[in-house]
């Protein structure tokens, strides 16, 4: 998918004026933070678990090569296959090859951010395989030909009416006059339509929240059960996973699972948490005959050992974007690619380059709310600042901003010059602004004054007044 991250400002502007989106975002802003806070309050050990989760992931990253090997051994020992893909193209080709070998016409899909990252659906369609998204939110955006705007709730940007319209336009064999005003009727319709697709598919593709090295198991976490139907009813189960999904043991998995649902949706535990280990066993009466784990690198190995390594602890809960005041007013599409919000701001430049994604780590006030709710204690603002350092070194920010900043720094490093400038300017602006106490407009401050006044300075600088006071009392 072509990123539009370069156009973040324009995307954001459009988003601010999109009434449906704003209504949807309003629901998110009041919903998720409250739910998360409530469920965290019920678990006194939550913060201690965050520390442990961080330690587990840091340990895995320091030994990632070995854990991947052990995982692979265990997958193979149980009759599964592991595929290693350096790039999106290799991953796409790997998946297509399996589908072709099995003569797959349709594949059902559970939600997979890796699938989005490699633009798998478009590729399969171009090659004669029809992918059917089964997560309700993913299904909705698939029929609308949109991208997910949130990593947990992909259709979060839509209101009910938009979804009903899309169902009417797509489910043509149903009565056009049927009532679709309630979410329950939309859900019931999706269930009926998709149930048929589950049975028809030859291959089921899911993501993986975690890969357990000890057992060679992959884990998915859903509320709908779609991932389970996707992987149980077909000839083959393909798991798309990026390298850093490894965890050592089932006990380590349990620790991380305690953090995931609470952080993502404010639930104690997701409805369906499922471990898949190999294909069906010889005497099983259901389950896929083949089990494939497709590992994608796509730049993760290069992030290890850099100042961005901590980002690889991410368990894709979405808490950061749920709490981000910027995401909360512009939504996910503004970020222009697969991963939005604070985690997207850090991760996206590692995957598609800071030239393309430079706006993302800049569009933050560093309020720190994301880091405060991240279950893996990822220092998101710090890493956004590291991106800004790289952009500064490469002179990627707009020249007027750069010159203004250098000018400020030049003056601030020279106290006598600074004193002179501030004493003068505070007097001038204070005098001009005195009648009203504020400026409705000011040269060079158009961005600010378009929407708000600029309060006038009091007319003397503190340092000059203090110097006077000291002279008087001397």
């Amino acid at each position: 998918m072509q990123p539009t991250s370069r156009a973040f400002k324009e995307n954001a502007q459009r988003a601010l004026g999109d009434a449906n989106l704003q209504k949807a975002l309003g629901m998110m802003r009041t919903g998720f933070p409250a739910k998360r806070a409530a469920v965290v309050a019920r678990l006194p050990e939550f913060d201690a678990l965050r520390e442990q989760g961080k330690a587990i992931k840091d340990h895995v990253l320091a030994n990632l090569d070995l854990y991947l090997e052990i995982f692979e051994q265990n997958v193979v020992a149980r009759g599964g296959q592991v595929h290693w893909c350096r790039t999106p193209q290799e991953a796409r080709e790997t998946v297509l090859a399996i589908c072709r070998r099995l003569d797959a016409k349709t594949v059902t899909k559970g939600k997979s951010m890796i699938g989005e990252e490699i633009a798998l659906n478009d590729y399969l369609e171009q090659n004669g395989v029809t992918p059917v998204e089964t997560d309700l939110g993913e299904y909705i955006i698939q029929i609308r030909k949109e991208r997910p705007s949130h990593i947990i709730v992909p259709a979060m940007h839509l209101v009910k009416e938009q979804i009903a319209d899309s169902f009417r336009q797509t489910h043509k064999d149903l009565d056009p006059a049927r009532p679709l005003g309630e979410a329950s009727t939309l859900v019931a319709e999706a269930r009926t339509v998709l149930r048929k697709r589950f049975f028809a598919a030859e291959v089921g593709i899911t993501g993986a929240n975690f890969c357990v090295a000890e057992t060679g198991s992959t884990v998915i976490v859903t509320n709908e059960g779609n991932g389970d139907l996707t992987q149980s009813l077909t000839k083959a189960h393909i798991v798309m996973a990026s390298l850093e999904k490894l965890v050592p043991t089932l006990e380590d998995l349990s620790t991380l699972l305690r953090l995931l649902a609470r952080s993502a949706t404010g639930q104690e535990f997701s409805t369906y948490t499922t471990l898949s280990t190999g294909p069906r066993r010889p005497d099983d009466t259901d389950g896929p005959a083949e089990y494939h784990v497709v590992f994608l690198d796509n730049g993760r190995s290069a992030v290890i050992g850099t100042e961005f390594q901590d980002m690889l602890r991410c368990i894709r809960c979405g808490a950061c974007m749920n709490h981000c005041p910027v995401y909360g007013v512009v939504g996910g599409h503004a970020y222009g690619w697969v991963y939005p919000g604070p985690m997207g701001a850090v991760l996206t430049p590692t995957l598609i380059g800071v030239d393309e994604a430079g706006h993302l780590p800049n569009a933050s006030t560093f309020c720190g709310r994301c880091e405060s709710v991240c279950p893996m204690k990822i220092p998101l603002p710090r890493m956004m600042r590291h991106w800004r350092e790289r952009e500064f070194q490469r002179k990627l920010s707009p020249p007027p901003h750069r010159y203004a900043l250098r000018a400020w720094a030049f003056v601030a490093a020279r106290p006598p010059l600074y004193r002179f400038a501030t004493t003068l300017m505070s007097r001038v602006l204070g005098w001009v602004g005195a009648p009203r106490g504020r400026f409705r407009s000011l040269p060079l401050a158009g961005g600010w004054t378009r929407g708000r006044d600029l309060p006038a300075p009091q007319g003397r600088s503190f340092m000059s007044l203090w110097a006077e006071r000291r002279k008087r009392s001397a």
């Binding site: 089964t134 709730v153 979804i163 006990e251 349990s254 104690e268 369906y272 066993r281 389950g287």
Partner: protein, 234 residues
């Protein structure tokens, strides 16, 4: 493929500024895996006695819209199922997994119930399964796939009834894993997991539409738990 594998592993090692781990380092990782130690287990369930854990399991399951009824023996299960079905106006045709844990249920005590033992099919509306454990911490059921417990029986029927025995209630997920490790030791002493381990907490739901919770999306819209509790202390 092995070229990609080698390159990826090599890239990871280069980033970590080292070659492959040496023997002591590999042994340390292997030891960590073999020990599979528990991390912090919250006190919520672990601090309770077993009776308290069973009560907690019920409260947590009911919080997420599962329903739970206690019976005192397997003999009472057919009546409890029949009552539940008529309460919700559900058909009296059931698919029951061939799970040996359900063999002692005298279905003939309720002749109105049409019981088929087997794998669930598309047309099945009500399914009955057993389970491996119930995790008190979050009211979560732990179910294993197997020749006599196909995974699809947990997901296809609109109504899922689970027979849970009091002894199966465990405090935590870690306790569930310990029991599974003990029950399923493979030939080489390692854990022999089945194809699927399902942790199920309440009925299927979504909040994808305006963040309103709706049940019965793809999995069952009803999860009913029959807890066989003979009232004896642990």
């Amino acid at each position: 493929m092995s070229e990609a594998r080698g390159q990826i592993l090599g890239a990871i090692r280069r980033s970590l500024k080292r070659g492959p781990l040496d023997e002591p380092e590999r042994a340390a990782v292997a030891a960590r895996l073999a020990a599979h130690e528990r991390n912090l287990v919250p006190a919520r369930a672990a601090s309770l006695d077993h009776r308290g854990q069973v009560d907690l399991f019920q409260r947590m399951a009911e919080e997420v819209q599962a329903t739970l009824v206690r019976v005192t023996s397997a003999a009472e299960v057919p009546a409890a199922v029949a009552d539940y079905l008529s309460l919700h106006n559900l058909p009296s045709r059931l698919v029951v997994t061939p799970d040996p844990q359900l063999d002692d249920i005298p279905w003939s005590a309720r002749p109105m119930l049409e019981v088929r033992r087997g794998r669930a099919e598309e047309a099945d509306q009500v399914g009955v399964t057993a389970c491996f454990a119930g995790v008190a911490e979050t009211g979560t059921l732990m179910l294993l796939s197997g020749p006599q417990s196909p995974t699809r029986n947990n997901l296809l029927p609109d109504t899922h009834i689970v027979v849970l025995r009091r002894e199966q209630v465990a405090a935590s997920y870690e306790e569930g894993w310990s029991r599974l490790r003990a029950a399923r030791r493979g030939a080489d002493g390692s854990l022999d997991l089945p194809r699927t381990v399902n942790f199920i907490t309440g009925p299927s739901r979504t909040a994808d539409i305006e963040q309103r919770v709706e049940v019965g999306v793809h999995g069952p819209r009803r999860l009913h738990i029959l807890l066989i509790d003979d009232g004896a202390s642990s």
